[in-house]
Symmetry: C2
């Protein structure tokens, strides 16, 4: 399958590498491919220069956002929450009629932040939108021809692409979206990643809860100790 | 142990009944005990009249809020989120130096609601406070002498008092609070309820994530079908 991954951060890399391993035709989008390739230092999160990632994963194609989206049938949004809406709206034509998986959390960073980083232990930066709207719904309203599915957001992305790393994969992933066919596509992708329990939370409005779960996710992660990834299993009666 | 349960709704009843069963001295608080006892119709959630609940659970003492709190060493707040802060502030003297377990979600109901009930499938009413503050922190600031512990809020209260009803109890409960001794008391109470995995999320600031999880909880519950209670298990690597 031709799949685009927008964004070159740690999450985007996890998906690009996994999709390549699964035999997909992987097109990564970045704002400025030349600038991305020119970097020789680790990024702000400590990820190695992207050209090293590409050298380690031959076959991944790097493009500008629009070309990556144009080349794909399915698009994964790995652009950070503060920039996603603007970046995606700019490539509306290339996204039209496609399924877009969004896993971003709409954190307010930098000058917009209510309190400086690090935030109080057990919380994350302020969310905007929050509670009565979600980033996923904003994207859907801005791009009515796109089939937006919210997923992945309740997990670190390296466990999203490798659920078996935690308790053999016995935990739960969620999807929400207004298009049943698009959710089926995403669920099949998740199955191929190794997920055995994908719970459909209904329409895209459920993305509110999925995004707002970020504080709980952060608190649990900090309680277990940095780097101790975990899964969330919905236990039925 | 002398324990007060403030509130006569379904959650308060679940705790009062369980605490009685465990042999505690249970003091229930209500705004107006005479009015509570005079009711002969089910409440708005369909719970039978409280006097029937008392007849079925001999030994539970019903008081006004202040007297219930005064009679207890440990207090469980079962007053709904919209009214909790005001009601608790009014009995500050009776709560002083005690551990207060808060499980309320600060929903805006009625005229304050952004959209009418029922809210969109997969969401709950608007939260206030949200994201950069929590009801639990508001209560703690209003009552600095009280040791506030947020807990119970991630589950329906009838499964909080009976965790074994879901998958034999193999799921996770959370506590957060600024007083380690108070969290120990609450964790011991949870152990007596049957919880085997109580995760300490740290300071009370983590109550933000616990309260904001309400939307996710609602969406999962609706996805599984009304009445299909579930547990959340934090799966470690």
């Amino acid at each position: 399958m031709k799949i685009a991954v927008l964004g070159t951060g740690g999450g985007g890399r996890a998906h690009a590498a996994k999709l390549l391993e699964l035999g997909h035709d992987v097109h990564v989008g970045t704002r400025d491919p030349e600038a991305t390739l020119a970097r020789t230092e680790p990024d702000m999160m400590g990820n190695p220069p992207y050209r090293q990632f590409l050298a380690d994963h031959p076959g991944i194609h790097l493009h500008a956002f629009a070309e990556a989206a144009a080349a794909a049938e399915l698009v994964i949004n790995g652009i950070d929450g503060a920039n996603a809406l603007k970046a995606l709206t700019a490539i509306a034509d290339q996204l039209a009629d496609k399924t877009l998986i969004d896993y971003a959390v709409p954190y307010l960073y930098g000058a917009q932040m209510e309190h400086p980083w690090p935030t109080p232990f057990g919380t994350m930066p302020k969310l905007d939108p929050c509670d009565t709207d979600s980033l996923a719904e904003q994207i859907q309203r801005a791009l009515p021809d796109v089939k937006v599915v919210k997923s992945f957001v309740t997990q670190e992305q390296d466990t999203v692409v490798n659920p078996e790393a935690i308790a053999g994969g016995d935990h739960t992933m969620f999807v929400a979206g207004d298009d049943a066919e698009a959710k089926k596509t995403v669920t099949e992708l998740l199955d191929s990643y190794g997920w055995t329990d994908v719970l459909d939370l209904g329409d895209l409005v459920a993305a509110r809860g999925m995004e707002m779960y970020a504080h709980m996710h952060g608190a649990i992660g900090m309680a277990l100790g940095m780097g101790n990834h975990f899964g969330v299993k919905i236990v039925r009666r």
